[in-house]
């Protein structure tokens, strides 16, 4: 894990009404790095993932992904607002797993996983189905290919969502509180799947979570957010064992978490 800066935020600002969520934020993530974003709710962690996924536009600032700007195009020396085609091209490298799974109820499990590879990436049906089965097998749902999402438990749905995200071969995987809607026991199963993925791939991951043990196990780096900015940035050992900032210490004390 010694890549160039892969994702860069430069002076990114976002407010919802008068509420400033991100205040001139700058940071970067290297290729293959797994970064966990922690902090109290409302501190802007999820907004960062949503901006990378182009679900929320920044008010100011630029976001770069592997040399390209996500919301801007370079014409000579000028930075112009990006066309829809440019955004789609850059977005192709990124995908996201959501807190509430968001499986498509009108498609069976396997089709949830194969639809984007076939119709967005242009893979052949056979190839996509083969890979889809492989991924569903990997998340422990090889026997549910023809189930409707509504027939699955929350934990199973989230594992399908993870398989669906991996099926588009992302360079960057965004995990937005993926276990917050699950019972602790079920959450642990989902986190185990993610641990395996972290171990076996070099996908860059940005992860918003309250599962601190998971964060400690899989991340290379932890960012502590508070009031629209990063107040502490370090290795999980450093940040969890000897946090410098008083706010970080208080936050970690308040998060009693066994997962």
């Amino acid at each position: 894990m010694t890549g160039e800066d892969f994702i860069t935020f430069e002076g990114v600002h976002k407010a919802f009404g008068k509420n400033v969520v991100l205040d001139d934020l700058s940071f970067s993530v290297k290729s293959g790095e797994r970064v966990t974003l922690i902090g109290p709710s409302g501190s802007g962690k999820t907004t960062i993932l949503r901006m990378l996924m182009t679900l929320t536009r920044p008010d100011r600032g630029v976001i770069g992904v592997d040399g390209d700007y996500l919301y801007h195009e370079k014409r000579g020396d000028e930075l112009l607002p990006a066309s829809e085609a440019h955004i789609r091209k850059v977005r192709q490298r990124i995908t996201m797993v959501f807190q509430h799974f968001n499986l498509f109820p009108n498609m069976k499990v396997l089709r949830n996983v194969t639809e984007a590879p076939i119709h967005v990436l242009g893979k052949s049906k056979d190839e996509a189905r083969e890979r889809g089965k492989e991924l569903l097998e990997m998340v422990g749902l090889g026997d549910k290919l023809n189930a409707h999402p509504s027939q699955l438990s929350g934990g199973q749905q989230q594992r399908v969502a993870i398989a669906r995200a991996l099926a588009v071969d992302p360079d960057v995987l965004l995990l937005d509180e993926v276990t917050s809607a699950l019972d602790p026991e079920i959450a642990a199963e989902v986190l185990d799947v993610l641990r395996d993925i972290a171990k076996t791939t070099d996908t860059t991951m940005l992860c918003v979570t309250h599962a601190m043990k998971f964060a400690r196990d899989v991340s290379h780096r932890v960012l502590m957010f508070n009031e629209g900015g990063i107040i502490e940035d370090g290795s999980p050992e450093k940040l969890f064992n000897e946090p410098e900032h008083e706010r970080t210490q208080a936050f970690l004390r308040s998060v009693i978490d066994e997962t």
Binding site: M53, T54, L55, E84, R88, R91, Q92, I94, T95, M96, F98, H100, N102, L103, F104, P105, N106, E115, A116, H119, V120, H148, P149, S150, Q151, A161, R164, A165, V168
Partner: protein
């Protein structure tokens, strides 16, 4: 009743069914264009869709029918009378159904669209693969109401001398004098057609719901439960 009069009734039934079916199909086209147009990114499209919906919802079908048949020719456009009937009914019911389309599309949870963005679907793919298949399930029950409204409105065309079921019944009444019997028969006739249409729509609803992995109770008198 003589065989000749009976033939009138059958022909009238055919015309009524034709008006209903083609009115519904054309109305569906208007409804989707206007209903989806109202959530377009372009202001012009949104505006046009809103103007259509608001204006045609307010027009009585009968007045619209008179306008198409008696006023349009004065500007040099002579429509086939039957087509004018279908168009008037479709414009009217389409405006109602456009609101159904709009509401159903809005009822799809935002997380669905976000997931579609995360998989990098094009805007068209988001609509076709994710939003519409889910929205359609929510459209069918209110569409069923619109369809029955349409069926009933078809009887208005008898006033512009289109020989639908009501027109045929009037003929039979005039030549036999059996007012009570004819009108009772007419009521039963429309009631039966409505029943058939409702049954078909329930079937469609069940098919659509099953594609989402939901169950809808079977049978016409089944209690509707939250799905």
């Amino acid at each position: 009743m003589s065989a000749g009069l009976m033939a009138y009734i059958w022909e009238g039934l055919g015309v009524t069914l034709m008006l209903t079916v083609f009115g519904a199909l054309l109305g569906l086209v208007f409804a989707f264009i206007a209903g989806l147009g109202r959530s377009s990114n372009r202001k012009v499209v949104r505006g046009a869709a809103m103007v259509y919906t608001e204006i045609f919802r307010g027009f009585p079908s009968l007045v619209l029918l008179f306008a198409l048949i008696f006023i349009l020719p004065q500007f040099g456009y002579q429509l086939n009378t039957l087509f004018a009937g279908i168009l008037a009914l479709a414009l009217n019911i389409g405006a109602y159904a456009a609101e159904v389309v709009r509401g159903a599309v809005k009822s799809v949870p935002p997380g669905q669209l976000e997931a579609a963005v995360a998989l990098n679907f094009t805007p068209m793919q988001r609509l076709r693969k994710v939003v519409l298949p889910q929205a359609v399930v929510a459209m069918i029950p209110p569409f069923s109401n619109n369809l029955i409204e349409l069926l009933k409105a078809t009887s208005l065309v008898s006033l512009v001398y289109i020989s639908d079921l009501t027109f045929a019944a009037q003929l039979v009444r005039a030549s036999t004098g059996e007012t009570t019997l004819v009108f009772l028969g007419l009521l039963v006739g429309y009631g039966l057609i409505a029943l058939v249409l409702t049954t078909i729509m329930r079937l469609l609803e069940r098919l659509a719901a099953r594609r989402l992995g939901r169950q809808v109770p079977t049978g016409l008198f089944a209690r509707k439960e939250a799905v």
